[in-house]
Subunit: 230 residues, 2 copies
DNA sequence: GCTCGGATACTCGGTTTCGAGTATCCGAGG
DNA sequence: CCTCGGATACTCGAAACCGAGTATCCGAGC
């Protein structure tokens, strides 16, 4: 079941989804996705689109239906989905919905290296982020209001609801973290501050890690390099 | 300010972070990151690591410090961070923390194509996901308990807290959505169900979209292809 | 009837990513 | 003393990604 998909770019799933509705040519797929706002949720760019289409053909998930020429425009190849493609679409989509995967988000990367900057600066940066998150949330709400007004069923903009929920959680987390750094309620904040003070005074990092207890006190014992015996 | 980073892989940031502590050779960087559990938050694989290091050298952010040979092991090149590298590290990290970026998560992709599967199946898949999310959350909690026990400051595992917060929000969203699909409280659910019933009866999708109001009733008018005048 | 801008429809090749594969070393166990 | 497995330390070529660039078409306005 955990068969690695032969075509792994999520854009391929979107292509299959479009062709499940009706045959299209690649450029039409791209405009369709854009007009539905799906390029907000699935990365779409021309280079990938055409190579993904080619790859889908190679694996028998779609096939060229006809090459038409309208006026003296360049030829367009219209593709249709195959039986195998329909199966792949349904299976893949089911997997995306049912199985969480490790997504590497940029904030998670940032947080995991956070101690590299001094605490006060991190708190400031996080508060800065919170402002931007609120703006983004406002934009999503505005978009939903527009959708509601033209009577678009919620079903078709559910990704937006999801993003809103996740960004709200991020906002809460970020604000709480900033506050806990400012008030030194976050475990380790004092060590963290002390280390950056020492660095600012010119003590090289290597020297601190070589003798953390000496520089930072007993509570830094846990930072000592994994000594023999463990 | 929005200068595109010359080396864009987040792994490069982690490399800079390691070398900011002390000079290391690439393999040591990888083991250091792994032992700190950072490979959970930053994608790490050998291929990328070595090309990233090379790229950092090319851009003057790190430099080879020495090539040492221990015993008859293959040579290892030890790298150290440069002035420019330190600046890049701090600037990049600040940007990651302060500026939200569009991350394309797999669930968002799935949700945006959700109507491609019938409602009852989607509800089932989402409930399935909820079970797996709970397991994942349990694992994170267990990891945190272990960290707390050995006295590791919260600061050093903050990414785990973040992941916990986000996954909790995802769980809430997913459970709520599944329930709203089951109870048809999600706007558009009836149309959605009807369309999949028709398809199961063999009506091709194209025919439905060509005459949505005929097949689905007045509330489907909004699905009609963008007719002239708009 | 000509021009200009925006939409249409892709192409191309440099960069990045990837991860299985290779080769060596060391220590434990027989 | 020999061997075998796991850790060490990377290599390499195939695949994927990307987005600026190209070329054409059409309609509005002068």
């Amino acid at each position: 079941m955990a068969t690695r998909r032969r075509v792994s770019n999520p854009l391929a799933l979107a292509v299959l989804g479009c062709l499940a509705e009706r045959p299209m040519h690649p450029y039409e797929i791209s405009t369709t996705l854009r007009s539905r706002g799906k390029e907000q949720s699935i990365k779409l760019n021309y280079g990938s689109l055409y190579s993904v289409v080619e790859s889908l053909v190679k694996h028998g998930l779609i096939r060229a239906q006809a090459t038409v020429r309208e006026g003296r425009r360049p030829e367009r190849t219209v593709y249709e989905i195959t039986e195998a493609g329909t199966a792949e679409f349904e299976e893949w989509l089911a997997e995306l919905l049912s199985t969480p995967v490790r997504d590497f988000t940029s904030l998670e990367a940032g947080l995991s290296l956070m101690p590299g900057l001094p605490p006060d600066e991190v708190a400031r940066l996080l508060e800065d982020r919170a402002v931007k998150l609120r703006i983004e949330l406002g934009a999503i709400e505005a978009g939903e209001a527009v959708s509601a007004e033209i009577g678009l069923p919620e079903l078709l903009t559910i990704e937006g609801r999801y993003r809103h929920a996740i960004l709200t959680a991020e906002l809460d987390f970020v604000l709480d973290l900033a506050k806990r750094i400012r008030t030194a309620k976050l475990g380790g904040t004092k060590l963290w501050r002390r280390i950056h003070e020492l660095r600012a005074e010119g003590v090289p990092f290597e020297e601190i890690t070589a003798d953390p207890v000496g520089y930072l006190g007993e509570e830094a014992r846990v930072l000592a390099p994994p000594s023999a015996g463990q």
